[in-house]
Symmetry: C2
């Protein structure tokens, strides 16, 4: 019979090794100047640092610990469900159900109390109803925009996405979670439009 602490550690190790698979899930944007698509694990790291940085600097009324925890786990469902391009037009309901099934499976590797906490974080982010979740979503939505702006249009040109579609898709969520950030991003998008970083017609 093992000690309780050791059993819990073993469960956490199994969980942490299961989520290792997120390193193999590819997204649609590329790291700046690299000729490969970024994976969801490294994306999750970058937005956690971004959120922590903005929350501390702007002294927003958000809980950085909770926001970071949400961002670290919010994409884990992609291990089973894959990445879905943010500009896809439909299939979002089925997608949400598939991601929920995935995180329920994956979090169940962890000890029960931890699994409950992780699922709470995932659901809070997904629902987007709290200020913490809205801020986390604003960060998650803006990061690929910032990467595409640094990559001459990146996935917008590759996938024929227009300026209007980008603004309509990411604008409301960024603005709702962090109006100051949207003010900045909006100006950059306008400049990028003048430089031809978008498709002329939606693909």
């Amino acid at each position: 019979m093992q000690e309780p602490g050791l059993i819990q550690i073993q469960q956490i190790v199994q969980f942490v090794l299961e989520i290792d698979k997120l390193k193999g899930v590819l997204r649609k944007v590329k790291p700046v100047g690299e000729d490969r698509y970024e994976n969801t694990a490294e994306h999750s790291w970058q937005i956690a640092v971004f959120a922590l940085s903005l929350a501390r600097t702007l002294e927003l009324s958000v809980d950085p610990e909770r926001v970071v925890a949400m961002l670290l786990v919010h994409d884990i469902g992609e291990i089973d469900a894959g990445d879905k391009f943010v500009f896809a037009q439909d299939g979002w309901e089925e997608r949400k159900a598939a991601e929920l099934r995935a995180v329920e499976r994956i979090f169940s590797f962890a000890p029960e109390t931890l699994a409950g906490f992780l699922l709470d974080m995932w659901k809070e982010f997904d629902a987007g109803e709290t200020q913490n979740a809205r801020f986390a979503k604003a960060i998650d939505r803006s990061m690929p925009v910032l990467l595409n702006l640094s990559n001459g249009g990146g996935s917008w040109l590759e996938n024929r996405v227009t300026y209007e579609r980008v603004c309509a898709r990411v604008g409301p969520e960024i603005e709702a979670g962090c109006p100051e950030l949207w003010k900045y991003v909006e100006r950059q998008l306008e400049r990028a439009r003048q430089k031809g970083f978008f498709a002329e017609t939606q693909g």
Copy 2:
């Protein structure tokens, strides 16, 4: 003249785009079952989740927010200095100085107060004197061990590292930061030794 909030956001965006380069820094271990080396950005994500999970479950007297912040930034110096194999025998003093120069350069993209906070996190981790830093180091040291254990020996066999060298190098730091975790890892290392996961003689 721009508003102060916008200037700070611009600085944070520059910082977050500068650290994008961490996605291109390769380490010596591979993700489970993948035929490529992991990069430091995805590693940083995984240990942040690992630390959060262990800290919450074992109810350790550590501050999860601080530990996670440390782990998210502790390797950023590798952008200039590269990854150094943990089992290298010498050059650690020069290495530490190079990493400090690197983070001073990189954090200076961020607004001053944030840069100060990030440097504090980096220095606290590096010094390893607080309980939070010791716990963070234990997590950082144990993750590649867990990956190698899942990969039939991985970087230990590739780089001719013995069982004794692994225990001597990572044991004290894991035990100092999280004795329960070392108890678990120690047993797994002993089993792995019986399976031939280590070099017979040190390379």
